[in-house]
Assembly symmetry: D2
Homo-oligomer: 150 residues x 4
């Protein structure tokens, strides 16, 4: 829209089949499974951006993962088994010690129409183990990871 | 205890052990399990308030449960296996076709101190199956349920 | 390839990524997740063979799925997040009201070597709801399904 | 086998509520959840017998848990949400580097009758991390643990 076009944040799509066991007696996806898939999509996002898996970063720099601090999800349409979902994710905001990862879960139907199933904004941190071995602590966002994922 | 006492909303406590398999390679509860437990605490809240189980209400009035529309959670401290958690829940707000259910997950430690682990606000609806058999729809809040749960 | 070739049972392969949240504090797949995936592979097997999804068969013939009667699994090697697993499944035996579905979960490594992760034999039935609405009952194996899946 | 009566193995009971989200579209417990609960009952058995939690034994002796080698389960009756299940477990056999843990999952009904829901025999090992950091290995059964649990 302007002379200097806004940079589009890097977006990664994660595909997830919905299985029978993901659904509850109301025959729709039991919502906790959306969070399972979003968590996988979050990790997948970093892998696709070129960040090594956490068990490697733990050895190299102590980084063990990106635990959640805050999550806000809005459920728009139901999904059921037989559906295939696309989870679009990108980093919407980088802060000092945290970042906002944003997700849209969509379903492309047989007639090519697309349904929005769920939206979610997560605040995550980069974490290392605490020195006393009890729990975890936030570390500054590694600049090389920020560069890979923007 | 005053002339016009504030009405305290009815609160129910649901107790949950944390198991080995609830924890991830960071040795803390994998966050999706908090949502499993909150969903159980939600149903438990209604049962404790005297609402029949959903398979009975489905026959009587078509009500199949209280699916989530929106959830917002804040993760404060980590928990791990061996912990026992108390999930306090109440209805913080009644709307026309939805309500806000609020949760505090706490851990009482060996020294009697209490840690806040997680807070969550959910917007839920009362749902029935759609007549065409596809998906679900919101119904007005049954007044007898509201009376039992306030 | 001979005059009287042995009939190979139809085999379907289901691919599954292992995610961080599928692993436990020992950093290996928490075994219950193998059963999640096997259950999905079982359903996927029938879909790939051309059997309609259970919500369609329920309307047509009352068939709601293939619940487990007996399962026997042997865990050979561990898997962890970052792995991609192939679940090979076929029907090893057809009985009157039940059948044996057999699974091999394998991991193809970067050097093209293949590890056997887990083997499982399940006895499943074809089930319909009981007339009194309480629980389920076994039905005779539908011959058209047997034909599709052999 | 002798004049002195056989010693009854130590048995521990673990109680588990069945929740809505534990059930599938057939409205019965999705079987993978039985394995979640059996795994919890296994750990609970050792805790009740006086064995320290695995994160303590890991520091003391390297023992990180009792992973499964083999499991054989038989599903007898279905269960659904609202049920409370009792999981009875004991060690049925001690071998050199493994042991057989046996489970009976029962439901006591409102009329005091008891239904057998599921039986399971597991072969488990005592495990430590491998020195190269890749995966786990079996260790000899610690005699003090055997003494506590027999």
């Amino acid at each position: 829209m302007t002379d200097t076009p806004p940079t589009q944040p890097r977006t990664v799509v994660y595909t997830q089949r919905v299985e029978f066991g993901d659904c509850d007696p109301a025959r729709i996806v039991w919502f906790t499974n959306f969070f399972r898939w979003i968590d996988a999509a979050s990790r997948h996002f970093f892998i696709q951006c070129g960040v090594p898996p956490w068990h490697e970063t733990e050895k190299a720099s102590g980084l063990i993962g990106t635990p959640l601090v805050d999550t806000h999800a809005r459920f728009v349409k139901t999904a059921s088994y037989g559906d295939t979902l696309q989870i679009h994710s990108h980093v919407a905001e980088w802060r000092d010690k945290s970042f906002v990862q944003r997700y849209r879960i969509q379903r492309e139907n047989a007639d090519r129409s697309v349904d929005l199933i769920m939206e979610c904004d997560e605040v995550r941190i980069f974490a290392a183990r605490r020195e006393d071995g009890k729990g975890i602590r936030a570390i500054a966002i590694p600049p090389e990871i920020k560069a890979l994922c923007s």
